[in-house]
C-alpha cells in the first residue's frame, strides 16, 4: 500500500483519457492526408482542439498542439523572442519571474547565451509572489526594449498564484505580449485564456490526467511567433510534425474532465491540504510552510488548493524523501534533480530562503485521486522520518573529523 503525494509531478491518468487513447491508437490515419482515413484523423484532432479551446476559454485557432509543456514553453519564449525581434530589433529584453520552471528559465538563458537576448529576472516576495512594482519600474525604464514577459500562473514548488491581472495590465500599457506557464493551474483553479488577457499560455496533458508527451500553447492569432520546429508546416506553421491524433484526443478528454470537475475538486483538495498542513505542523512543530499561508474557509488564498510545501530544519530533503518512500509515502523534494545532480531550489532561494534551509524542502501535492487516508499515512510516517533525517543531518554537517587543510608544515 503506497501513498501518492506527488500529483504536481504527474497525476494518475483519468479513465476517460485512457479509454480515448486506446481507442484512437487502434485507428489509422495521418491528419494531414487528404483521403478518408486522413480526414477522419483530422476530424478527431479538430474536435479535440475545439474541446480544449472550450475548456480553457480559447478559440480553436488559438490552440497549438505540442509534445508537452516544456515544448510549449520553449515555443513561447524562443518563438516570441524571435518573432518580436524580427518586428523591432531593439526588443531584446526578456522579463521572466525568478521562480519560473526550468522549461521557461532555460530557454531564456539559452537565448541570452546564443541569441542576443538580455534576461531580466523579476523578483518575488517571501511567499514567492511576483513583485509587481519591480515589473512596473522595469517597464517604465526600458519598456520599449522588452520582447516579452513570462510569469507563471501558479508555481510548481510552493503553489503561489501570480498576480497575472496586474502583469497583463502593465504589459498592455507598453504593448508587450505576456506568456504564462499554466501547467500546474489547469484543473485546480479557473483558467480562462480570453478573460486572462494573456497572449500565450502553456498547458500540459499529463498534469491534468492526460497522457505524457501532450501539451499545447494557446497563442492569440496575431502574435508574432517564430517556429521552433520546422517541417511539414502543421499547427499554423509554428510546430511542424505529424499530429499525434490519439494524444490530442486523450489530452482533450482529460483537460475537459479536469476543468469540469475543478469547481468541486478544488474545495475538496483545499480542505484536505489544510488538514495536511495543520497535522504536519502538529507532528513537527518547527516545520516551516513555504508559500502563502492557507486561510481555511475563505477560498481566496493565493495558492493552489492541492499544494503544500515545507522546509524541515536540520533535515536534508533527500533523507526525508528516502525515509518516507521506504515507508510507502511518495513525495518530492521540490528541487530540480536532473540526472543525479541536485541543486538547491532556485524558487526557495528567490524567496529569500537560505541554502541550508532550502535543502530540507519537501513538497506534498494532492490530486483527483487523493483521500484523507493519504494524509493519515503521511502524518503517521513523518515524525520518525524527521527524527532520523535530523540525526543524519547532524551526522553530515560541519567539518569532518581529522580534516587537514594542508599548507607548508
Amino acid at each position: 500500500m503506497t501513498t501518492y503525494l506527488d500529483h504536481a509531478a504527474t497525476t494518475p491518468m483519468r479513465v476517460s483519457a485512457v479509454e480515448a487513447l486506446t481507442t484512437e491508437l487502434g485507428r489509422t490515419g495521418n491528419a494531414s492526408s487528404l483521403h478518408a482515413a486522413g480526414r477522419s484523423a483530422r476530424r478527431t484532432v479538430e474536435e479535440s482542439r475545439e474541446q480544449l479551446a472550450a475548456a480553457l476559454g480559447a478559440r480553436p485557432s488559438e490552440v497549438v498542439l505540442t509534445g508537452g509543456g516544456t515544448e510549449a514553453d520553449n515555443l513561447a519564449i524562443k518563438g516570441l523572442f524571435w518573432g518580436r525581434l524580427a518586428q523591432d530589433p531593439a526588443r531584446r529584453r526578456v522579463l521572466v519571474s525568478a521562480v519560473e520552471h526550468h522549461a521557461v528559465l532555460d530557454p531564456a538563458f539559452w537565448l541570452a547565451a546564443h541569441g542576443g537576448a538580455e534576461i531580466v529576472l523579476l523578483p518575488v516576495d517571501g511567499d514567492g509572489r511576483l513583485d509587481v512594482d519591480a515589473l512596473a519600474a522595469e517597464l517604465d525604464g526600458s519598456g520599449d526594449q522588452v520582447a516579452l514577459i513570462s510569469v507563471m500562473w501558479a508555481n510548481n514548488e510552493v503553489g503561489t498564484l501570480q498576480p497575472l491581472d496586474d502583469v497583463v495590465a502593465l504589459a498592455r500599457r507598453h504593448g508587450i505580449p505576456v506568456h504564462a506557464d499554466a501547467v500546474q493551474a489547469v484543473g485546480q483553479v479557473t483558467v480562462d485564456f480570453a478573460a486572462s488577457g494573456l497572449d500565450a499560455l502553456t498547458v500540459s496533458g499529463h498534469k491534468a490526467g492526460g497522457p505524457h508527451g501532450t501539451g499545447a500553447l494557446l497563442a492569440t492569432r496575431g502574435l508574432p511567433l517564430a517556429p521552433v520546429l520546422h517541417g511539414g508546416g502543421q499547427e499554423r506553421g509554428v510546430r511542424s510534425g505529424t499530429l499525434d491524433v490519439p494524444g490530442a484526443r486523450s489530452f482533450a478528454v482529460a483537460v475537459d474532465e479536469a476543468v469540469r470537475e475543478q469547481p468541486a475538486l478544488a474545495p475538496r483538495l483545499a480542505a484536505l491540504r489544510d488538514d495536511l498542513v495543520r497535522r504536519v505542523r502538529a507532528a513537527v512543530p518547527d516545520a516551516v510552510l513555504r508559500g502563502p499561508e492557507p486561510r481555511p474557509g475563505t477560498g481566496s488564498v493565493p495558492r493552489l488548493p492541492a499544494n503544500a510545501h515545507f522546509t524541515f530544519p536540520g533535515c536534508e530533503g533527500d533523507s526525508l524523501l528516502y525515509l518516507l518512500d521506504s515507508a510507502g509515502v511518495q513525495c518530492s523534494t521540490g528541487s530540480a534533480c536532473q540526472a543525479g545532480v541536485p541543486q538547491p531550489s532556485h524558487v526557495l532561494l528567490a524567496m529569500g530562503v537560505d541554502e541550508r534551509a532550502a535543502r530540507g524542502a519537501l513538497r506534498f501535492s494532492l490530486g483527483h485521486t487523493s483521500t484523507p487516508a493519504d494524509v493519515d499515512a503521511l502524518v503517521a510516517a513523518l515524525p520518525d522520518a524527521v527524527t532520523r533525517a535530523r540525526a543524519a543531518g547532524l551526522a553530515s554537517s560541519g567539518l569532518p573529523t581529522g580534516l587537514r587543510t594542508g599548507g607548508p608544515r
Binding site: G340, P342, R388, R409
Partner: protein
Amino acid sequence: MRVLAALSGGVDSAVAAARAVEAGHDVVGVHMALSRNRDQFRTGSRGCCSIEDAGDARRAADVLGIPYYVWDLSERFEATVVADFVAEYAAGRTPNPCVRCNQHIKFEALLDKALALGFDAVCTGHYARIVDRPDGTRELHRAHDLAKDQSYVLAVMGAGRLGRSMFPLGDAASKADVRAEAAARGLGVSAKPDSYDICFVADGDTQGFLRDRFGARPGDVVDAAGRVVGAHDGAYAYTVGQRKGLAIGRPAPDGKPRYVLEVQPVTNRVVVGSAEDLDVGLIRADDAVWLSDPADLAGAADGAWFPCEAQVRAHGAPVTARARAVAEVVAGAGGVVGVEIGAGVEVELVRDGEDVALRGVAPGQSVVLYAGTRVLGQATVSSTDRARSATSTDRARTGRLAG
C-alpha cells in the same frame, strides 16, 4: 541487514550490490552526486561522477530490483577532497584524493548518514576483505585478487568502521570474473571501462587543473647545493621522484638523469638530484589511522618497533620494514603547540643487501603498513631520510617528553 549499496555507475559496485541482494540483505542503492556543476566533471564513461554514470547506476538498480536514490554530497566533497587536493599541491606535497574520498566521503559522510537513517552497513565495490576473528575483532585484508587489491586506499577508514562495511568483491577471483558475473546478471555496465583518473580532473590533466587554480608561478630549479640549474612555471606542478618535464639546459656534472628531490613552496624552488638522492631509508608520517592497536603489535611496549611491510603507492609493491608509533608534533604559528601521542609513525625500511627498498617517496603520499595480507594501519608521509637515521630516535624521545 539493511544495506546501503553505494552505486558509482561502474561494474564493481553493481556486482557488489547484486551479491548483497543475493545474500538476502535489504538493499537500497545510492549514487553520490559529488559535483553540482554538470559540466565540471568529465562526461566520459571512465569515471564515477558524470551524468552518464548516474544513469548507469540507476539502470543497475533497476536490474537488481532495488530502490535508487541520489544523495548530494557535493559540498562535502568540495570542502574535503578537492580543497585538500589543491592545498596539498600548494604546500609542495603529493596528495591521494581517492584516500581522502574514502576517508571523508564514503566511510564518513555517507556511512554516518546511512547509519543515522537506519541502515546497518554500507556496501561498496572495493576489492578488499574484512575478516572476522573468533574473538570478535575485525581485520582488513588484501583482496584475493592482488592485482585488483584496493586495501591501500581503504586503510584510512580505520578499525571502527569495519563492522559497518561490506566489500563483497574481496573474494572475487579476478576482474574478468566480476565482468562475466555482471554480464550473466544482465547488468549493462559489464563491459564499461575501468576508471583510473582523478574523477574531478577533466581529461586526467592534473597539471592543467592545477595551472587553472594557481596560474603561472615561475621559479628556479636548483641542485642539492642550491645552484640554479633551470627554471619552472610553478613548483606545484612537480612531484618528488619526477624525471620528465624538467627544463634543465645543462647536463648534470656526472651525466646522469636528474629527478625532483624536493618541492619548496615557500621559496618556490624545485630541488633536483640523482636517482640515488631519492633513496628512502626512513619514512616519517602523521595522522596515523590504526586497524590494529600499535601497542599490541609492538608486544605491548608502547613506541617499540614491530615488523611489517610498507606500501607507499596504490599499485606499488610492499617492502620489508619495521615501524613504531611516535608522537606527532603539531606545529602552529608560535612553533610547536602540541604533541599527540601515537598519531605519528616512523617506518624504517629494511635493506636487502645493497638494494634500495624505495625511491622517491613524496610528502602527502599514504604509507600503509601490512603484516602479510592484513592491514595494520596507515599514515600520511610527512618527510623521508635517505639513511635509516638515528635522529629518529631523538625525535621520538623529544616528542614523548614534550607530551
